[in-house]
Amino acid sequence: MRRELRNVTGSEAVGPYTLLRVAAGGLDAGAPGQFFMLEAPGRVLPRPMSVCLATARELAFLVDPIGPGTRALAALASGDRLHLLGPLGRGFRPDVRRPLLVGGGIGIAPLPFLSQRLGRPPALLGFRTAWHAEAAALVPNAEVCLEPTYVTELLPDEPHDVLACGPEPMLEALRALVPDAQLAWEAPMACGYGACYGCAVEIGGELKRLCVEGPVLRAA
């Protein structure tokens, strides 16, 4: 875990989302599914963002500007600077034989990086509208569906190693259908490094902090 000040190198609209590019400057991108706490200008708390794209030079984060913090992040422009803390949490385990990436909405954020690491496996992505689905362009080999069709209706019959991130109902449905799926969960958190207990969930009678034990957890 490191906290570093970095330059914004670019910001571009992807459907309703913003892809925020930051100079890596030696920062370790971590494993796909891990995240950084991004300082949100003018706000009290940073915001957790999983790494969407990673190169030696750049880290990119997909931001859904739905609140004051994410709007402040989406408003950053090339040349602005922000603090990043990370990489944090536990990401996806890459030891899978037949990977299938499943994503919904802003939950596709960690999948481009994961796809890159796993050699462009097939992906199944669900979105609310065609505008939101513009983000599917970030994920290679993706089959896309729009509401009212859900990704769970399109799961192939043959077994796959499912690696998924998306809204809670999608993850709950996948948990029931694919017991060994790796699921990336989301919860409001203040710190991202185990201090605040804001993101704690009860799993098997034990209190687990998603920022430390997750955000990627086994379904079963």
């Binding site: 875990m1 906290r3 300082e39 706000r43 009290v44 708390l45 940073p46 609140g67 004051p68 913090g69 603090h83 803390l85 919860a187 409001p188 958190m189 203040a190 710190c191 490094y193 185990g194 201090a195 605040c196 207990y197 804001g198 993101c199 704690a200 969930v201 009860e202 209190l207 902090r209 430390v212």
Partner: protein
């Protein structure tokens, strides 16, 4: 002396951060394990944040058997924050603690039901149960916090921790429903600083015991202000969530603020908010009241 506010750091998850403090204060321990409140338990506001964690903790027995031995290995002085739902529960936990630097009695969590006894009655029960230094953490929501401070001092408290969070509410901008699952939560962060300063100021006049000041500290100057109001130590809360490396920065800012004022030590400023202004400052004030000077300053 720089500490963390209880519940704002897990020393086992971030040992280096704990080691950057002069003492580590644990999350509040209750006799029985608590999962805490339902999520959502965190919400940011414009000038602070709300939490409704609800004293999530492994319970006294597991804390003593598993957590405390691991905390001792860090080599940082330990303060254990003790909570309960009756004076007897607080006292029973105090009686089980030994070999730590201090006990902080959490008498003011806004997220759980209070014990039926008064803060002073709880301190009395704990005083009978332990010889360790007892710090009473009080709520800034008390109408007369100085009276509460005097009462716990009389009951045997060795120090005060000021302040806990204030009860607050934040609404979702779209649904206009509470962001937190519990509705209200404890409000902390920058907005709390003037509240903390007022509490420290009032209690340091009313009592003789040392005060750990906390509430909205982000900079070395914030820390120095709490010391000036009467604190002899300062704890960091919300800022640790935003920046785990804040202690080192705040320490160096505090040293710079101290040096810039020609003071040998931050504690040399302790209580300066209570002192009568110096003659120079007096004459400045007097000058501002003369019409000629007022004219000059607006020119």
């Amino acid at each position: 002396m720089l500490l963390n506010a209880s519940g704002c750091l897990d020393a086992l998850a971030a040992p280096d951060v704990a080691r950057s403090l002069d003492a580590f204060v644990t999350k509040t321990i209750t006799p029985l394990p608590r999962g805490g409140n339902a999520p959502v338990r965190i919400a940011e506001t414009d000038a602070g944040m709300l939490n409704s964690i609800g004293l999530a903790n492994p319970g006294r027995e597991r804390f003593l058997a598993e957590t405390l031995p691991r905390l001792r290995e860090l080599g940082v002085p330990l303060w254990v924050s003790v909570g309960g739902f009756s004076a007897r529960e607080y006292a029973e936990t105090c009686a089980r603690l030994e070999g730590i630097a201090a006990i902080e009695l959490n008498l003011s969590c806004p997220n759980v039901d209070e014990a039926p006894e008064s803060a002073a009655e709880i301190v009395t029960a704990c005083r009978a149960a332990t010889d360790l230094p007892l710090y009473a953490k009080l709520s800034p929501a008390a109408w007369d916090i100085a009276a509460a401070a005097r009462a716990v001092e009389t009951a045997g408290a060795d120090g005060l921790s000021l302040v806990n969070t204030l009860r607050g509410l934040a609404l979702d901008e779209r649904t206009l429903r509470p962001l937190l699952a519990t509705g209200t939560g404890g409000y902390s962060g920058p907005a709390l600083k003037p509240v903390a300063l007022a509490a420290v100021y009032a209690c340091s006049r009313a009592t003789e015991i040392p005060i750990v000041g906390m509430g909205g500290v982000r900079t070395g100057l914030d820390a120095l202000e709490l010391i000036a109001a009467g604190a002899s130590a300062v704890a960091l809360g919300t800022i640790l969530f935003a920046d785990p490396y804040a202690p080192a920065r705040i320490r160096s800012e505090l040293a710079a603020e101290t040096a810039a004022r020609g003071l040998a030590d931050p504690l040399a400023a302790r209580g300066s908010a209570h002192r009568t202004p110096t003659s120079a400052a007096n004459s400045d004030n007097a000058l501002q009241k003369t019409p000629g000077n007022r004219h000059k300053s607006t020119a």
